[in-house]
Subunit: 350 residues, 2 copies
């Protein structure tokens, strides 16, 4: 029951009904368990809620065949088609199926992108399209607390700063009007496997973990088991709480940084963005860094290669500790009297 | 020069002169390097600054013999006495020595406390006393970026939440008027060893690392080397930046939470503390949790055993999501109309 309870609690916190959803189903243990749990959690047509209303909206099983592992990929697709047929035969109502194939390898070669990133981008794009086609506003994926712990550890080891510790978001916008949710994010992989055993349900073993990078695979198969066995049995749930806390802290900081940016921004001078240095100086250094990040995001200035130190040096200029700084992405920040000027490198050099 | 530069930069950021300090010197590599670096960084009497003023105030070498390792402890004490004599003979000015002995094992047995905690408490107490005796307001310890990384990893593995990631503070109050600073917190142990080699200076090997717990020793000798070698060469500095960021974020949050508490607190009703639920509801959940932490701290209610979930459940009552909760430390939180009542368990049960 641990899995069902964890999903129910998460859906309650998200204020989402367990229906009217597109569920991404790869055929692996996690997504199969999510699908089964959601069908069990749907209000019964004989129950108090009746078959009408939101409870009756279909669940869409969505499977994208990435065609990356030949027969094995086709076997996954076949498994998901059969799963849908079996559930319908067993009396599951309002259960739709959406299957598509995409040659990710060819697409990645064409765009010169990396395989993993291309696969993810195409998958989420197709899931959003599928939601639109079925007139649903939500897509659910089967990410677990173990995925969350691996992500947090990965980010920690890469050194992405406190922001990175937010890990996998329990909800985020896929595209305007379509939301991605992770209702299983507080359940562990052990909960998933126990649930499938109890329900005597099969799933496909994903041998290659094609979506996982080499480092990610080592974190999953070596580091996380080592840390759990030798340091803390509850590490997975601790890392999940850390991600939740980091996420809360940063949404609060971002809200405040947004207000700060609004308060401090002066009319642009041609191509330059202008901030009021006197007002900025009243904010904390942390808040100034966040406000600058928001400005970069809004202006679509490249944040590639911007390290913590770079943001901090930009904040140092804004706070009058440094006169000027040139940053990765060819953006410069200059202090000029009581204002801070920001803009493309070449504006300052000509 | 890496070590000298790191210490100089840290002192500049702390706005502290490299003199008029008590330096805690165990005789190990870290503290010996800190002492030597500080004597090198002191303004020269022949330099522009002259011998007067702050630059001329003495550095006090402070060594507390914990008497935990018999002859080895006495050897450490002897080494530090000799270090002081050698430096004075070499022409170091204004270098005082303070040495004391304390039977930590007996003290711990007497108070029933654990050895490590007792040693730390007594050491900092004595260092603060020594500062007072020499009319200094600062004590410096030789904690390095490696110590910081170990602390952050240790807290992460224990699951102390985002707060724990603040790690070792670069400055904190030891007692009113006496500040503890860690000017070497951005320098690595490798920087320390390179500096001692360059200066051809000896130090005592601390074989037992008596101050370190078993887990801490494993993190130092097994986990951190493994993560650095297999995942990220720059992990130590990344974890240091994470600690710095967490520290900044939390000092900002605590400031705001203090304001929130002040805004929301109503006059107490006998032994009960009363908060305005309507005003609390306008704050974020994160902020409510922090405000409650501050209240607990002020009231000296026990925070032992209070997990992240406990703080969160207390916040849930404050935000009207739960009617009441009984917490570890026998403190209860109750929602009553538009106010939140907080106080000792038995007040509510009688």
């Amino acid at each position: 029951m641990a899995l069902i309870d964890a999903i129910r609690e998460q859906l309650t916190r998200l204020r989402v009904m367990p229906s009217g959803l597109v569920v991404a189903v790869s055929g692996g243990a996690d997504s199969v368990a999510l699908l089964l749990a959601l069908t069990k959690l749907r209000p019964s047509p004989l129950g108090g809620r009746g078959d009408g209303g939101e409870g009756g909206e279909p669940i869409v099983i969505a499977h994208l065949n990435h065609c990356l592992r030949g027969d094995e990929s086709d076997g996954d697709e076949q498994f998901v088609r059969q799963l849908h047929a079996d559930l319908v035969n067993l009396g599951a109502r309002s259960l739709e199926l959406a299957v598509a194939r995409i040659d990710v390898a060819a697409l990645a070669a064409q765009s010169g992108g990396n395989l993993e990133a291309t696969a993810r981008r195409e998958r989420y794009r197709w899931l959003a399209e599928t939601a639109l086609r079925f007139n649903h506003s939500r897509v659910a994926t089967g990410h677990t607390a173990d995925d969350q712990a691996e992500t947090v550890l990965h980010r920690l080891l890469r050194g992405t700063g406190l922001q990175g510790l937010r890990g996998i978001a329990v909800r985020r916008e896929l595209q305007p009007g379509i939301e991605l949710i992770r209702p299983m994010l507080t359940a562990t992989r052990a909960d998933v496997l126990a649930f499938l055993r109890e329900n005597d349900h099969s799933y496909r073993e994903d041998r290659s973990n094609a979506d996982l990078t080499y480092t990610r695979n080592r974190i999953r198969h070596e580091l996380l088991p080592l840390l759990t066995a030798n340091y803390n049995q509850s590490l997975v749930s601790h890392l999940g709480q850390l991600a939740e806390q980091a996420s809360e802290v940063f949404s609060e900081l971002e809200r405040q940084a947004g207000e700060l940016l609004q308060t401090c921004e002066l009319p642009p001078a041609g191509p330059l963005r202008i901030l009021d240095a006197v007002k900025l100086a009243r904010a904390s250094r942390q808040m100034v860094r966040e406000a600058l990040r928001l400005l970069w995001q809004r202006e679509q200035w490249s944040r590639d290669g911007m390290t913590f130190q770079d943001w901090d040096r930009a904040a140092a200029v804004a706070l009058g500790e440094l006169p000027a700084v040139d940053l990765p992405g060819r953006i410069s920040v200059r202090r000029k009297g009581s204002v801070v000027q920001l803009g493309s490198f070449h504006i300052f050099t000509v």
